[in-house]
Symmetry: C2
């Protein structure tokens, strides 16, 4: 019995790095779709963007004031104002045919086009007006308070790269270039399953020996944060035929299936058998803690991730393996979107086993000069509170013998 | 004319700190609504959560193996195995009435309840089985491989605070406690308007003297990132009656109206007049750069933010003023959700005027030991590319004479 369990289980653990390399070589980038810019937040840009216009598209006033010839202001001061004549007003949005000569000024608003002949704008606060005579109280250098055409972006500039995750500032940039539609990558459709006879759906009374299934909603939230499209989330009993039926159904409409539970070497862990029989196992067993019993495989074209059933192990395995796979399909520039900060570790952290990548949960304290990373006491990979009491993860590489108090570490913040 | 302009404009600038204090004293927390946990990502929790159950709810096995009495394994080693008798199997999800005595073991899966009488679980890998005789190859201390009831969370523990922004890990925690619905704060409904005769909607050909309106989609994306509900986004011509009509309509269904443009002292800046006539101005003119011409006011119960028309000034004013107001309505623990990291500034940054809070855009480089913040060259508050080329903002306080190369600075990362 031991022998059989060992054979179907993972006798050899693969380094995470190797597993990810093998996985990445199998992932294709998704096709594109065109969407409206108003729906573009958090989507992944599919094309490089070259500006087809200059921004600003014309020389424009950066102030409310008067467009003048700078030389008319030379020597002006509050005690020795210079006078010019008001010859017109340019409203914002108007493209005026006005032309000014020496001794003339035109009232102009912030953002309005500079009239021909003018090379400076004097702020309204630095002037006074009496009928059509403007007194200038300060001396301007040519170019003062004018935003030159193309100052922000020159026509023909590469402004955004394909693979950019679109945030408010990118949406502003694209819109200012005139885009109202944009090509993005289609979000991968993902099915989530949890297996386990011990699992209850939240909302029903707790029964002896059972626990609530927290993995499906957790993975669903992570998929959303990583840009995927969770189309199905179900709990299945630990029955081989039931699991197989569900999987083969989901293959029809899912690019990815994420399964939690059912991958260890317990008596009812049918999943590796099913993948082996009907598909292909890419990796089974990864040298990481928590999260060793991860299986990566394929059923037809559908990528299968079987993550451990314990929530913390499922969480870190998603962040390190399934999440980046989603982002690779989306053509992201960065597969791991977590923000990484540098901190000083507050105490020694020995590791229990060399050869494993350890995911150390830490919470952060901020001093004036640096971040301090406090390891959160670990009591097992089922301990969800170790996540909610933490801010992020420090990875201890397989060849590191642990961390020493005072070491600088990189903390990958939890995805927000 | 100058005199009149100065009167309706902002002759005195308010420190940002004071403006925010005044604003915050006027903001009430929104009422709550009950939603399903599957829709809870990014929502703001309205209640403190006290655990009504223990997690795990029972002593359970942390390994696949055999539940035994630890003392039966004392002295066991690969060369000197101890033998016990298999008396049953406990499947996961089963609450068994089994009871074991000295010399007995029960096959148990990870997560299954520990039977009465057992005080340790020996891993399957550390055993061999021949018919019903189990050989134990290692010695266990009592408690080994058992997750004790309440190890993760004890019944009655305060596990989450009201005001928490719910992420994947919180959703996992709430679900594991049995919640399938949760009370959150209702998202404030927000209308966005931009005014300006120079503004074109993206998608139409560019005309002389005009620019594309990028503020409405940018603000809309920011509102979404801050947890608000953007219900309307429109561009209005610079016409006082048209603006007034739109505002008074939007007051009916909006908790907040965000206006961009129309707040400076140009010839067509009707907005302050309208707010003064029909509502109340709280602050007009803030001592910050960019972003001085901000107006904060009320029309009936609706909070009005008039942000500058230049995109960068509108962006930073949103992050510092309008965004935190949304989060205060949501009852968030932290009004400014931006991640703040510590970095070293790479060059001297003189400031142009004391008394102003300066929002310095920087991009970040990471070395092994620290982050370097490189100031992004500023050419004006209209320069959207200064945002897309940056990673965040360093604030230079009104009493600081600038930054010196090598100074430690706090960088607030752009909201993602």
């Amino acid at each position: 019995m031991t022998e059989k369990l060992r054979t179907i289980g993972f006798s050899k653990l693969t380094p995470l790095k190797d597993a990810l390399e093998k996985l990445n070589s199998k992932i294709q980038i998704n096709p594109t779709e065109e969407i409206e810019i108003k729906d573009a937040l958090n989507r992944i840009l599919a094309d490089n963007i070259i500006s087809k216009i200059s921004i600003p598209p014309f020389d424009r006033s950066a102030m409310d004031g008067y467009a003048i010839k700078a030389e008319d202001s030379f020597g002006a001061s509050p005690k020795n104002p210079k006078e010019i004549k008001l010859v017109g007003i340019i409203e914002i949005g108007e493209f005026s045919k006005f032309k000014i000569d020496r001794g003339e000024g035109i009232r102009i608003s912030t953002g309005a086009p500079i009239p021909e002949g003018s090379d400076a704008v004097i702020k309204i606060e630095d002037t006074e007006i009496e009928k059509d005579l403007i007194s200038l109280y300060t001396s301007l250098v040519p170019g003062k308070n004018i935003s030159k055409k193309g100052e922000d972006i020159k026509k023909g500039t590469h402004v955004l790269s394909k693979g950019t995750e679109l945030k408010a500032e990118h949406i502003a940039l694209l819109t200012s270039l005139g885009f109202n539609k944009i090509k993005v990558r289609i979000r991968p459709k993902i099915s989530i399953f949890s297996s386990g006879d011990e699992l209850l759906e939240p909302g029903v009374p707790l029964e002896p020996g059972k626990i609530y299934n927290s993995n499906t909603p957790m993975i669903s939230a992570l998929i959303e944060l990583y840009g995927g499209n969770a189309i199905r989330g179900e709990t299945i009993q630990d029955d081989k035929e039931a699991i197989k039926k569900k999987l083969l159904e989901a293959v029809e409409d899912s690019q990815i299936i994420i399964f939690t539970g059912g991958t260890s070497i317990g008596t009812k862990d049918y999943l590796p058998e099913i993948i082996e029989e009907s598909g292909m196992i890419l990796t089974h067993g990864i040298a990481q803690r928590p999260g060793a019993p991860v299986l990566i495989g394929f059923l037809s074209e559908t990528l299968i991730f079987c993550l451990p059933g314990t929530p913390v192990a499922a969480y870190v395995s998603f962040l390190r393996i399934a999440g980046p796979a989603i982002r690779k399909m989306l053509g992201c520039l960065v597969f791991d979107p977590r923000i990484e900060i540098i901190a000083t570790i507050s105490k020694d952290v020995p590791v229990s086993a060399l050869g494993f990548l350890h995911h150390l949960r830490v919470n952060l304290e901020k001093s004036e000069e640096e971040f301090i990373a406090n390891p959160v006491k670990l009591r097992g990979s089922g301990v969800i509170s170790s996540l909610t009491f933490s801010d992020g993860i420090v990875e201890i590489s397989p060849d590191q013998e642990g961390l020493k108090k005072g070491d600088k570490v990189k903390v990958k913040l939890f995805p927000k």
